[in-house]
């Protein structure tokens, strides 16, 4: 049994079979023909076609960002139940109603959304969060139980920033914050008993 040794990233760019331009002169015509032939076999799929977002009007950028977020969701849709997916899309659509936006507001950043999906599929919270967007297009999720609040900002490139406030018997809140890679979010939150926000019991304590 050989198995795959896990590194970072798994399988990275190992599947690029194109010859580097600098190596082209070193190969025979026949070799080049074979490489082209192999490359043709690896046609891109229809879903991989994208239009360019930069320099376009807000409406077009919003469309592209929403489409990218929904396509990213499709990549993991087999791990999401239909209701969760529908609710998520409804929240995303609602967040992108631009009438209330201010100048400079950006639609959801696909890299931030990717971080969000990784986190949400790992945590699998019984309670869905409220969602918001930062000025720069990073997705923000918030859970509230009574006066206690947990907010997680999903940053591009697998980073997350979280802030929580938990009220004590004396009426004063304990506040904690952290910033970690998304793969360590669960460990980062563990000391603060995040089930206080994520579980259905918490919603029964204090419906939102």
């Amino acid at each position: 049994m050989a198995g795959l040794v896990l590194g970072s990233p798994i399988g990275g760019n190992t599947m690029n079979w194109r010859m580097g331009a600098e190596l082209q002169p070193a190969f025979s015509t026949e070799t080049k023909r074979i490489v082209e032939w192999v490359d043709r076999l690896r046609r891109p799929s229809p879903a991989s076609l994208r239009s360019q977002a930069s320099g376009r009007p807000l409406e077009a950028r919003v469309f592209d960002a929403l489409a990218a977020a929904k396509t990213l969701t499709a990549r993991v849709a087999m791990h999401l139940d239909r209701e969760t997916r529908d609710k998520l899309f409804s929240q995303l659509d609602s967040l992108h109603e631009t009438e209330q936006w201010e100048a400079g507001d950006e639609p959801v950043n696909p890299s931030s959304f990717e971080t969000f999906l990784k986190a949400i599929l790992t945590i699998s919270p019984a309670r869905r969060p409220g969602l918001g967007l930062s000025h720069t297009g990073d997705l923000v999720a918030a859970w509230t139980t009574g006066r206690d609040r947990l907010t997680i900002e999903f940053l591009p490139n697998d980073r997350v920033r979280w802030v929580l406030a938990r009220y004590q018997d004396d009426g004063e809140p304990d506040r904690f914050a952290g910033q970690v890679e998304v793969s360590r979010l669960v460990q980062g939150l563990a000391p603060h008993r995040p089930e206080h926000w994520f579980s259905n019991e918490s919603s029964q304590q204090s419906p939102r």
């Binding site: 049994m1 050989a2 198995g3 795959l4 040794v5 896990l6 590194g7 990233p9 798994i10 399988g11 990275g12 190992t14 599947m15 079979w17 192999v38 076999l41 690896r42 799929s45 229809p46 879903a47 076609l49 239009s51 469309f63 489409a67 929904k70 396509t71 990213l72 499709a74 990549r75 993991v76 849709a77 087999m78 791990h79 999401l80 239909r82 997916r85 899309f89 990717e114 999906l117 990784k118 599929l121 790992t122 998304v182 793969s183």
Partner: protein, 248 residues
């Protein structure tokens, strides 16, 4: 009715492609794209741009471009896609896969509309492609993909540190005049704590593709059955457990 065997099918994309012997002109393509807006609320114009550079000794290099305009139509949730190129009619379905019956019905609906508006075109290729991604959970430093997949590279024992792989096979399916192109490769997983492996099956007939609808539909249904058979032979019972069979 054909029942999708798994609660969580690993299909990330299913595609039916019809390729034509001669291109359709851009205005007619735009017209049909516009007519299909009722089914697909989103439309994007896409361009396939090819650049060719010509180097001749003792002469100034010259460049030429070939632009192929197309239309990408999609549903509100972006899972249903119709791609119209001058030489291709492509129906695609992203996850969650609704099952063959629903996917095929959409193909028939759009194909009928296409035929009504464009008329008969000589078909040069009919293809069905299913891209499956198998997400294997891991806890240690090694993912034993051989426990889940039956198609992977056969490497000498000296290689003990495999970090990624990709293999491709082309197989003739003589009983249906088709060629199977099978890609099996490791890819980064979109899930934490998982390694992901692609099993990409592309079955196409470009030798003698049927030209009438009845034969076309029959071929597509036969390809689908063959595709299922091939996919099942590419995976192990442990992989099937990951997809949660309905009988469980």
């Amino acid at each position: 009715m054909s029942q999708q065997p798994y609660k969580q099918p690993p299909i990330t994309e299913a595609v039916i492609e019809i390729r034509f012997a001669a291109p359709i002109d851009a205005p007619r393509l735009a017209e049909i794209s516009s007519d299909l807006r009722a089914q697909y609320p989103y439309e994007q114009q896409v361009t396939d741009l090819r650049v060719q550079l010509y180097f001749v000794p003792q002469a100034t290099p010259t460049a030429g471009t070939i632009e192929r305009p197309g239309h990408r139509l999609s549903s509100l949730d972006q899972t249903q896609i119709l791609l119209l190129w001058p030489e291709n009619f492509i129906v695609s379905q992203l996850a969650p896969y609704p099952g063959w019956d629903e996917f095929f019905e959409r193909f028939r609906r759009d194909w009928s509309k296409w035929k009504r508006l464009i008329g008969y075109q000589t078909i040069s290729r009919i293809g069905v492609r299913y891209i499956n991604r198998i997400d294997i959970p891991f806890s240690g430093p090694l993912v034993e993909y051989e426990q889940y997949i039956n198609v992977y590279p056969h490497l000498p024992e000296v290689f003990t540190n495999v970090r990624g792989y990709g293999v491709q096979a082309q197989v003739q399916l003589a009983d249906m005049d088709c060629i199977l192109t099978l890609n099996s490769l490791s890819v980064p997983s979109p899930l934490l704590g998982h390694a992901a492996f692609i099993v990409d099956l592309d079955i196409a007939n470009e030798v003698k593709p049927p030209q009438n609808d009845e034969s076309l539909y029959e071929l597509l249904n036969r390809i689908r059955l063959k595709k299922n058979e091939i996919f099942e032979s590419c995976i192990t019972p442990r992989a099937r457990e990951l997809f949660k069979p309905w009988q469980d």
